[in-house]
């Protein structure tokens, strides 16, 4: 039986270090998620309004963020702005900026979709019943829109958690980087460490995202 390289995990603090790496990545995603949820909701409500230039700018921003791979955005913020403005952003800060920009765009799309998914007749009927505009929004539109929005935003959260693994590429020491370090350090004693370590990282990500996905699906089923 060939060694699967799992023994490395039980040496010293290796497993704790891996978890620490995961926590670094998770912190970046959690901060970005918080920013995105707030800004995205605001933007999603505002973008529905019709006012000339702001709307055009907004569309450009959304389209650009949607079509560019997140890696490209990371490179632009991490390498590009350093050159253009002469500042020196840390990898962590750059990734928070990029994932917030991206998350905001995605979230605003979800919000807009959720609000427009409520049929016009709902507005009209509520108005006809004599509700004021804030009342219509608060008691009629919001509850219906939220049922659609919440499962989708939970899905966005798992997507953002998964995407933060990219920060490896701009030198942030997250779980994959820690994994590489562990593998390098134990090259002699356990040459098969790569299998065990990467399998563990794979499963850790799975255990992190799976419950969240299940929750989203449950809510979708209940409210769908």
């Amino acid at each position: 039986m060939q060694s699967l390289g799992l023994e490395v995990l039980f040496k010293g603090k290796n497993f704790a270090r891996l978890l620490g790496g995961l926590w670094t990545a998770l912190q970046i995603s959690l901060i970005s998620i918080a920013i995105s949820m707030v800004l995205g909701t605001l933007l999603g409500i505002l973008v529905g309004r019709k006012n000339g230039i702001g709307r055009v700018l907004m569309r450009c921003y959304l389209e650009f963020i949607h079509i560019m791979p997140q890696m490209v955005l990371l490179f632009i913020v991490f390498f590009g702005t350093a050159k253009a403005f002469g500042w020196n952003l840390s990898g962590e800060l750059s990734s928070v900026i990029v994932f917030s920009l991206w998350g905001t765009a995605e979230m605003s799309d979800l919000v807009r979709g959720a609000v427009t998914s409520v049929p016009v007749i709902q507005y009209e009927s509520a108005m006809a019943l004599g509700l004021s505009r804030p009342q219509v929004f608060r008691f009629v539109i919001l509850p219906q829109a939220l049922r659609r929005l919440i499962p989708q935003s939970i899905n966005l959260i798992t997507r953002m958690i998964k995407t933060t693994s990219l920060v490896l590429m701009i030198g942030v020491v997250e779980i994959l980087k820690v994994g590489q370090q562990i593998i390098e350090a134990n090259r002699k004693s356990s040459p098969n460490a790569a299998f065990g370590v990467y399998l563990t990282i794979f499963l850790l990500y799975f255990m992190l995202c799976w419950p969240v996905s299940l929750l989203a699906r449950q809510l979708e089923k209940r409210w769908g």
Partner: protein
């Protein structure tokens, strides 16, 4: 600039080649999974579900690292290109499966029953009646997945594939022409992704017309 441009061209071709291959395999995997689940074949059905959950809840970068650095340790060796295609197929398969599933579910039961009552066999029903309709309905989902997967190819540079990201990073390191290299990077990705995105919205409109027709 004249020196860099051909490099970017080559990298773009590589990106597109691996992307297209990976997406084709992803569609195949997705179709298999959704058919297996639709027909409720025991064992295979559970396997498909496990695969879909695993693939949807882990990042492509981690999957690639596992395939490229992990699997050789137990004797499965692959070159970077095969690994990229395999990774994309592994990730995309589950997304495609979901797209196909929603299509299959949208085809009414009456279609199935009518086809059977006309004397078609189960396989014929699936091939000539269910599949074409399901495919048309899943087109918006599929194009969204295609764009998503093409964007995901940008992580291939992590397993030393000379794709656009890799070339950009390489050139920045060599000449310090950061701005030019990044602008080119954006331009090349736009060249690849914009047509697909436009084609996608065109197709979507046609599908909507098709729906009105019924």
């Amino acid at each position: 600039m004249a020196k860099i441009l051909p490099l970017y061209g080559k990298a773009a071709v590589l990106t597109v080649r691996i992307g297209v291959l990976g997406i084709l395999f992803a569609m195949l995997v997705g179709l298999l999974c959704s058919v297996v689940r639709q027909m409720k074949i025991p064992v295979l059905k559970q396997l498909a579900s496990v695969y879909i959950e695993l693939s949807r809840n882990t990042p492509l970068l981690v999957q690639l690292f596992f395939i490229y650095y992990g699997l050789p340790k137990i004797g499965i060796k692959t070159d970077p290109e095969t690994c990229g295609v395999a990774g994309l197929a592994f990730l995309g398969g589950s997304y495609m499966a979901e797209a196909f599933r929603s299509g299959l579910e949208a085809v009414g039961k009456i279609q199935h029953e009518s086809a059977l009552s006309l004397g078609l066999t189960g396989l014929q029903t699936f091939r000539y009646v269910i599949l074409p309709q399901a495919f048309a309905i899943s087109i918006p989902g599929i194009t969204a997945n295609v764009i998503f997967l093409l964007k995901e190819t940008s992580v291939f540079s992590a397993i030393s594939l000379m794709d656009l990201m890799f070339t950009a990073k390489d050139q920045i390191g060599l000449y310090y022409k950061t701005t030019e290299c990044l602008v080119l990077l954006v331009v090349f990705y736009l060249l690849i992704l914009l047509p697909v995105s436009l084609l996608g919205s065109l197709l979507e409109r046609r599908v909507r017309h098709a729906e009105f027709g019924t």
